[in-house]
Amino acid sequence: MSEFIQLVIAGLTTGSFYALVALGYTMVYGIVRLINFAHGDIFMVGAFLGWTVLTTLAATHMPWGIGLLIALILSMILTGGLGVAVERFAYQPLLSAPPLSILITALGVSLALENGVLLIFGPGFNTYPQLIGSAGFVLGGAHITFIQVGIIILSFLLMAGLYLFVHHTFIGTAMRALAVDRDAARLMGINVERVIQITFFLGSSLAAVAGVMEGLYYTEINFFMGFIVGLRAFTAAVLGGIGNIPGAMAGGLLIGLLEAFSAGYISSRWTDVIVFLVLIGTLVVKPTGLFGERVVERM
């Protein structure tokens, strides 16, 4: 029983990272029908920006709680800005081009970001300061750390916040309108470019939160870290139904749990096989993914 709880906690923690990154994939796809392959690398840049701010602030002997908050917020703003810049310079000119062109551009952006970080920060591992130890509590024989609980709660709050934003604000309504029909939305007086930029900003800053939390939790970051997380998060978005926000959350958590259970009860080697078998099985039964609905009902 204690092992089961332990695996659930491990799965929910990694699942939270996947879910936060998956939201970026799903929001962008919902609105511009683009699979933004650079999103995993945006997550990686978020982790590096947070690291830069944190290590700079560490020299000023600021209380670490405040330093962490500043690092988180700065990383969210800057990474969000990076997302908007990528959209403005790489994707916007291609929005009306054939889908393949923009897909290739996304791959190019991914390579540019990875190699940019490689050139600036080097190929080795950078490590976050050891701010949060492994303090925690025991539940049913399983050891749970406060940072795990913090990660899970923060991701749930962000996901709930995003859901409310999309469903109860003017911009959120505009985003959903774009998802249904971009041209019709434009005819209704919606500033389409602005809404797309806000979508990229939100998706990228959520990825930045995931990046900084990943840095704090696992301490080591490197330029290639966005690849595996990006791949899993994209899988999560497809599993949940790409374009669907609750679907991305559910998909992320489900993949985290699947990974933990297959590593714990079967073998770590089989993790990918099991995750993708579940994905294929789901898509065979329900081609739109778990939460995917008719195209009109995206977001």
């Binding site: 332990q6 990694t14 591992f125 795990q148 301490t219 080591e220 990974e259 770590s268």
Partner: protein, 382 residues
């Protein structure tokens, strides 16, 4: 493919021929190391050790009344460049070749040198294959990849008194090979291997695997992969309050492990060929090297220093720079007192006693731990 190589080699042959005439009063020792590409730094550390050894020998009168001349060639850690480097050294009239960094370049170099009948002393190439081809011209001052596994197994059963052990690898050639060698040696020692499986490197979260492994109740968890994942495992195991002793192979001995795991790294043990700072005989060498080059010696520098010293001794014993006579005299090297301990070669050319030690993370720094002495007892590394 033969033609371009011939054309490329032609001007070199001419140049080398012209040079060797004027240099007949020196004894040439070839050092093929990567001096370009990603491993250039490691290659330079090895070459500097070779130069230091040559300077030391020359300062005390040289060999057979002649000075030692180090002939460095860039092999770029690449098989093709390695063949060219070996050919240049053969044409340059070397008595011995001693050095190198990558097994991948070392193998074709060895084949070329074997054909030319030139002895080759390896200082860093640990792949077992190099000394398993039945060549009589190959010698090695460092241990083999397949010797570390049995050493690790002996450490677990003999020093840690483990009855149940879990071995985790990352499915790379090095890691899987080390794990296989460790597991078979553990079984031979009567230890119960409760877990032997691989994880995916780069996955970050190993707490699921670790909590499963812990439920099998091993006394030791041995991770044979690299430092990045080892650091994460140390950190995650501490958060799970796991009791087993954690340890790993030489690839886990890297400061990143400690930076990643912080205080949780304390107590992590690595099996490794001793780094210069942990070699009792190498204290003077470390001082001299640091003074001369402004940086601390690399992990393989003392092995290269020993390789050059042994090459010089073999030439002296043979009384000739004729490579075939040098090979014969290298086979008679016995109990040579080098920086890295006593060196005797077996018939394959490997050291009869491979030197491995364990290091432990103490107060968030690597510190020497224990080693096996000649009597088979575990003693602290000074």
């Amino acid at each position: 493919m033969i033609k371009p190589i011939l054309y490329a080699a032609l001007p070199l042959l001419l140049a080398v021929g012209a040079a060797s005439a004027s240099a007949a009063d020196t004894i040439k020792i070839g050092v093929p190391v990567p001096l370009s590409g990603p491993y250039a730094a490691a290659g330079t550390d090895i070459l500097n050790a070779a130069k230091l050894a040559a300077d030391d020998i020359n300062a005390s009168g040289g060999v057979l009344g002649k000075k030692i001349d180090i002939m460095a060639e860039d092999d770029g850690c690449d098989a093709q460049m390695g063949v060219q480097a070996a050919q240049k050294m053969i044409d340059g009239g070397v008595a011995v070749v001693a050095g190198g960094y990558c097994s991948g370049a070392g193998l074709p170099e060895l084949i070329a040198l074997h054909r030319a009948g030139v002895p080759f002393i390896l200082d860093a190439q640990t792949n077992p294959k190099l000394t398993s081809m039945g060549f009589n011209n190959v010698f090695r001052t460092i241990g083999r990849d397949d010797e570390q596994g049995p050493f690790a197994a002996k450490f677990m059963s003999g020093y840690l008194h483990a009855k149940k052990v879990a071995v985790i690898n990352d499915n790379t050639v090095y890691s899987k090979g080390l794990a296989d060698n460790t597991v078979s040696a553990l079984k031979k020692d009567g230890v119960d291997v409760v877990y032997d499986d691989s994880v995916t490197p780069g996955q970050m979260d190993y707490s699921a695997v670790l909590s499963h492994v812990a439920s099998l109740d091993p006394q030791v968890i041995d991770y044979t992969g690299y430092f990045a994942e080892a650091g994460l495992m140390a950190k995650e195991a501490a958060a799970l309050h796991l009791k087993p002793q954690l340890m790993g192979g030489d690839a886990t001995q890297d400061p990143t492990l400690i930076k990643t795991a912080g205080a949780a790294a304390n107590g992590w043990i690595c099996t490794t060929a001793p780094l210069p700072q942990f070699l009792t005989g190498a204290k003077q060498f470390v001082t001299d090297f640091t003074k001369k080059y402004g940086t601390a010696p690399g992990p393989y520098s003392p092995y290269e220093y020993d390789a050059i010293e042994i090459a010089a001794k073999a030439v002296k014993d043979a009384g000739s720079t004729d490579p075939s006579k040098v090979i014969a005299s290298l086979h008679t090297i016995k109990d040579y007192k080098g920086l890295t301990g006593n060196i005797t070669f077996n018939s394959a050319g490997d050291r009869t006693v491979a030197v491995y030690i364990t290091v432990i993370v103490k107060d968030q720094a690597f510190a020497p731990y224990v080693k096996l002495n000649a009597a088979g007892q575990w003693v602290p590394v000074q």
